[in-house]
């Protein structure tokens, strides 16, 4: 007896058999340690159950035992694709707590570093979208450019990936002539490469067919899920912390906030692409209008004195000792400071009881908050679209699990 078409219609939905697919935790296509148990109907995803926490490192607990300056390396390991933004965001939080006056030059230098970090973050994400749609060329090509930015970090602070850049109050040293050379070289060479990458994918028929209408979310739903950053802007909401609450002199710069319409993978790609052009223009403006002045604030209670003075000057020695031993008094209070990170509003909520360590430090990690909408976004789509959606949302495992 053969099965008729009419027999298939008689099958009740609850008798339908689903298969379960374990995507992750270590799957090359998820670009990090994410596990999703997918309930599949053929190749259509019916439901997804994400499990996170595979690289949870208890940062919030660790921070309660560390003096303020020792928390900077922890923030590196949140969104490690744009570590300098996290570092500087943390410095600014402490500066807000101690009400430090930051010189204009430091603010401009910070803007340069943060915009370079934003470029690397978006660069990786867009290149990975290319990889997941089958275009490996752009990825390999753009990684060379990321290397140039990492060399700039290296000239500024000595580290590359987990930068630990700057200090509370400014930078540990002024940018060296070699660092400036590398920044100028990057500004000369990068636009050509970025343009070439854009030409490769922007109006590419295959890429557009693959990404338009894939992994979309409406603006209303995105706001309900507390989306921020590129994912929110791609859905059409022009919220950017740099404009909404300017920090570090962002109000001095002329730049626009690109927004998308559908909130799908293609819109996210295009918003990131445009933001990279805007970041380049911000860096150029910062270099052009860079004020003269010191590279750190005058806060001897928090900013380490120069080493030669420590050996020859009693006062500097005392300050050095007090800072390293974590014996500086801080005011009691509660501070929230947020910066526009690579993938959204990165916030630091710091409760200080006047002790040498924070009483409580809470990181508002943007991708922890928007990743919870992932099952809803991929429901009803194909498995290959789910992978593309995850890479386009820029979910970073380190930030997700804290």
């Amino acid at each position: 007896m053969t099965l008729q078409d009419s027999d298939i219609d008689k099958v009740k939905p609850e008798e339908k058999q689903y298969s379960f697919l374990n995507l992750g935790p270590t799957h090359p296509a998820t670009h990090g340690i994410f596990q999703n148990v997918l309930k599949m109907d053929g190749e259509i995803i019916v439901d997804a159950q994400p499990t996170i926490g595979y690289i949870h490192r208890a940062f919030e607990k660790l921070a309660e035992r560390r003096p303020f300056y020792q928390i900077t390396p922890i923030t590196d390991r949140l969104n490690y694709c744009s570590a300098p933004i996290n570092n500087i965001g943390w410095h600014m939080t402490v500066e807000k707590l101690i009400k430090a006056e930051i010189p204009k030059r430091v603010q401009y230098l910070r803007v340069i570093v943060m915009e370079l970090a934003r470029i690397t973050d978006h660069l990786i994400c867009n290149a990975v979208i290319g990889v997941d749609t089958g275009a490996l060329t752009g990825f390999v090509y753009l990684f060379q450019q990321r290397e140039l930015v990492y060399e700039i970090y290296e000239e500024i602070c000595g580290a590359r990936l987990t930068t630990n850049i700057g200090r509370i109050g400014g930078f540990e040293r002024d940018f060296s002539p070699k660092a400036w050379d590398k920044i100028h070289q990057f500004l000369r060479e990068f636009p050509k490469v970025l343009k070439e990458f854009e030409n490769l994918l922007k109006r590419n028929r295959i890429f557009m067919d693959r990404t338009i209408g894939c992994g979309g979310i409406t603006a209303e739903r995105a706001l309900q899920y507390s989306f921020t950053g590129v994912n929110l802007r791609a859905a059409g909401v022009d919220y950017d912390v740099r404009v909404a609450q300017p920090y570090s002199s962002y109000q001095d710069f002329e730049f626009s906030i690109p927004v998308g319409i559908n909130g799908d993978v293609y819109d996210r790609f295009m918003v990131r692409q445009e933001e990279m052009w805007q970041s380049l223009s911000i860096i150029e403006q910062a270099i052009k209008n860079l004020p003269e002045g010191p590279y750190h604030a005058e806060i001897p209670d928090f900013y380490l004195p120069p080493k030669e003075e420590v050996y020859n000057n009693m006062e500097a020695l005392i300050y050095q000792f007090k800072i390293v031993m974590g014996e500086t008094d801080v005011p009691k209070g509660e501070v929230y400071h947020c910066v526009e990170g690579g993938n959204g509003e990165l916030g630091f909520y710091l409760v200080s009881d006047g002790g040498r360590t924070p009483f409580r430090l809470h990181f508002r990690r943007p991708c922890y908050i928007f990743y919870q909408a992932y099952p809803e976004i991929i429901r009803g789509s194909m498995l290959s679209d789910a992978i593309l959606t995850m890479s386009s949302m820029n979910v970073i495992a380190g930030e997700l699990d804290a």
Binding site: G53, A58, K61, E64, S226, C338, Y368
Partner: protein, 166 residues
């Protein structure tokens, strides 16, 4: 002390839920309001829907443990994207039995934030659709961010250090 916009927010709260407001203060650039726990969801719904406040965006939510008071605070931070106002709401719960109604009915994004708070502080959010541990393992029996638990397991002997202590 308060700006006119902050006065407006406080007066909206005072007219409807005067008995719920325990303390209004300004901490750095933030209006912080301490409330009673039982009607917190109604208060947040009012702040979201009232035309004078329009706090339609939940920025973050977290717990804070105060061992001296014997209380756990839950902090809600709301954001009005139209005029850039932000507000912080706090409720204090007894540490033996921290129970507060869930915010997921108002903001779906509160789901994982509440799970995280449960995971680290043991705050039970009544009515939450899926209140399980999220970052720690299911088998864990403590709530690790509470102050009574030290950073490292003090019973470990493999890392004993006589010279500098732990």
């Amino acid at each position: 002390m308060f700006s006119t916009e902050e006065e407006k927010i406080i007066s909206v709260l005072r007219t409807q839920y005067d008995d719920q407001v325990l303390l209004t203060e300004k901490l750095y650039d933030f209006l912080t309001i301490t409330l009673k726990a039982d009607k917190i969801i109604e208060v947040i719904t009012l702040l979201r829907d009232h035309p004078d406040t329009q706090f339609k965006f939940l920025t973050t939510l977290c717990g804070i443990h105060f061992p001296d008071l014997g209380q756990i605070a839950v902090m809600y931070q709301l954001h009005n994207m139209h005029n850039g106002m932000r507000i912080r709401l706090k409720v204090y719960l007894p540490q033996e039995m921290p129970v507060v109604p869930t915010l997921t009915t108002v903001f779906p994004g509160a789901n994982w934030m509440e799970r995280e708070t449960y995971d680290f502080y043991g705050v039970v959010f009544e009515g939450h659709p899926d209140l399980r541990r999220i970052l720690n393992v299911e088998e864990m029996i403590i709530f690790p961010l509470r102050k009574e638990y030290p950073l490292e397991d003090q019973t470990r002997e493999d890392k004993a250090d006589e010279m500098f202590g732990r």
